[in-house]
């Protein structure tokens, strides 16, 4: 009897270890595979040329990724700049000020929003954001814009990641103990002072984590961005210019140009680049979190 239980315990433990190792191993498998496939292009061109030039003529053998990298960074940057403050204020309102009824209603709306397929956001962006930019917004700043632009990509992406950030932040703020708010209030602090100085402060690690997750998601978002950002290979000069982020590059071209071996390798390099950016970004943010924890012991 006892033996049987112990054996089950052992099997369960080893099985779980196996599952853990496999899922972590997949990460290295993907990274390694991409790196291996992109070796041909890296042997031909120096890494420096690949990363800093923006000439993209596959049939002449020019592969410069600068405009793709910049496009990705711009679009993601705009998305975060728009999404973060909005999500912060929204989730603070819902958790700290709203009545339980609003809280319940809103949580389900947020869940619903994050479940909408990206292609729908893309279509919607094409129908509303793109014409809005080309007709209303852009004429104030530049001579001509089709509307398919860095800004359109950023806005659509922001709308997509807002529900994600809100739902994480709601968890984060909800996890701040009630006693802590009461301690602050009982000293005569107003609600806003309590939120600002206690709740948000206590939640900094969670806010950083939510931002990181959102940025990682934004880096990789493909279809919705691809539909509104114009997909034009050039260094964007303003946010009203078309751009071409890395995921869109891969999705648009992979499978078509397999006859040119260099081309395939170049696209693999693009994929590796994206993978690398996300991994490095995550590692850095992890280090930042550790530093925050060390300094403040929140």
């Amino acid at each position: 009897m006892l033996k049987g239980r112990l054996l089950k315990d052992k099997i369960a433990r080893h099985y779980m270890l196996f599952a853990t190792v496999v899922s972590i191993f997949v990460l290295f498998l993907i990274g390694g595979g991409l790196l291996y496939k992109s070796l041909p292009i890296m042997e031909e061109k120096s890494l420096w040329t690949l990363l800093t030039t923006s000439n993209w003529r596959p049939f002449k053998g020019d592969f410069g990724f600068a405009s793709y990298i910049l496009s990705t960074l711009f679009v993601t940057g705009i998305a975060i700049v728009i999404a973060l403050p909005l999500s912060l204020l929204t989730s603070i309102y819902i958790i700290e000020y709203a009545s339980p009824r609003i809280l319940r209603a809103f949580s389900s709306v947020v869940d619903l929003l994050s479940g909408i397929p990206p292609v729908i956001y893309g279509v919607w962006g094409t129908l509303t954001i793109v014409p809005f930019i080309s007709e209303k917004l852009a004429p104030h700043f530049v001579e001509f814009s089709t509307g398919y632009s860095v800004l359109a990509g950023g806005i659509v992406l922001a709308i997509m990641i807002i529900p994600l950030i809100i739902s994480i932040l709601m968890e984060v703020f909800g996890a701040v103990p009630k006693e802590m708010r009461e301690a602050s209030m009982s000293l005569g602090a107003t609600k806003w002072q309590t939120v600002k100085k206690v709740v948000v402060r206590k939640s900094i690690p969670g806010i950083v984590a939510a931002t990181v997750l959102a940025i990682s998601r934004a880096f990789g978002e493909t279809i919705a961005v691809l539909m509104v950002c114009g997909n034009f290979t050039d260094l964007p000069k303003s946010i009203f210019d078309a751009c071409y982020p890395i995921p869109a590059l891969i999705a648009n071209n992979y499978g078509e140009m397999m006859s040119v071996p260099q081309y395939e390798s170049a696209l693999m390099f693009a994929a590796f680049l994206l993978f690398f950016i996300i991994v490095v970004f995550n590692v850095i943010s992890r280090l930042v979190l550790i530093q925050i924890d060390k300094r403040y012991q929140l």
Binding site: A183, L187, A189, K197
Partner: protein
């Protein structure tokens, strides 16, 4: 002008001698206080007058409403939507549940010590000067002096003076409770509310806190909710005994412990039930 009129209207039904004669005696006065949570009658028609510069202990079995009553004193129920309160509660003769009463200055009058010390997510010194900062005290020197003074008052200064900038959460739980007391004192309150403030502490720390209460009662009105009868016997000047949401007996410690009027009080004090 608009601001001037409402208080007059509120106070008019009250006899004038209330403000002049009575006002100096009870620091906190509860009048026909009822509290409902989701239609459950939790506090039933409470009437009591807590004298100033003394220690009042609220005792009673678990779930009798001691903590709920204490929390009405600084309106901590405000944010709970399903709590309904009727009746009046005067602090310094001001009805704190009147419609136009502004809540932060009421809370500023009272330092609250929770069951488990709850340090704010910041350094030791920032914890102490949190209150003063909120109420607009500026200047590094001044804030440092406040922190030094209050940490001295709770006997924590020597233990923490070399690490004022380190996180408050690193302190032991007994030290944190004293820190919370210092933080409460820093807003210069008149009243200290303690909600089983020593129940999470080790015997030595709770003794320190008790002694602090005794030394502070010359300056402050202290109201403590306590589970331990012995603690009440040790430090209370006045005792309120509650049972199932009602205030059964209120009197001086000697009167309640040695000559209880009510049968329930007698039973509870002799350990008949808990």
């Amino acid at each position: 002008m608009e601001l001037m009129t409402p208080p007059l209207i509120v106070k008019q039904p009250k006899p004038i001698e209330k403000e002049t004669a009575d006002c100096h005696k009870p620091h906190i006065e509860v009048e026909n206080l009822n509290l409902y949570i989701q239609n459950n009658h939790i506090l039933k028609n409470i009437n009591m007058a807590i004298p100033d510069k003394s220690i009042t202990c609220i005792i009673g079995p678990s779930g009798c409403g001691k903590t709920t009553l204490l929390r009405t004193f600084n309106r901590l129920h405000d944010d709970s939507v399903d709590v309904k309160i009727t009746g009046k509660l005067f602090v310094d003769c001001e009805d704190i549940y009147a419609k136009d009463t502004e809540v932060t200055h009421i809370r500023k009058k009272m330092g609250l010590l929770a069951q488990r010390p709850c340090s704010l997510p910041m350094s030791i010194i920032d914890n102490v000067v949190y209150g003063p900062r909120i109420h607009g005290v500026r200047g590094k020197r001044k804030l440092y002096e406040i922190a030094r003074h209050q940490l001295h008052a709770v006997g924590l200064w020597d233990e923490v003076k070399d690490r004022l900038k380190s996180p408050a959460s690193k302190l032991s739980i007994g030290q944190q409770q004293r820190l919370c007391l210092a933080r409460g004192l820093a807003v210069e309150p008149e009243i200290i509310l303690g909600d089983e403030a020593t129940s999470a502490l080790d015997p030595i720390s709770s003794k320190t806190i008790e002694e602090l209460f005794l030394s502070l009662k010359d300056k402050y009105t202290i109201v403590l909710v306590t589970h331990t009868l012995r603690q009440a016997k040790r430090i209370a000047d006045y005792v309120a005994f509650m049972y199932l949401g009602e205030l059964i007996e209120f009197g001086t410690a000697d009167q309640v412990f040695n000559h209880p009027k009510h049968k329930l009080t007698k039973e509870y004090i002799s350990g008949g039930f808990s």
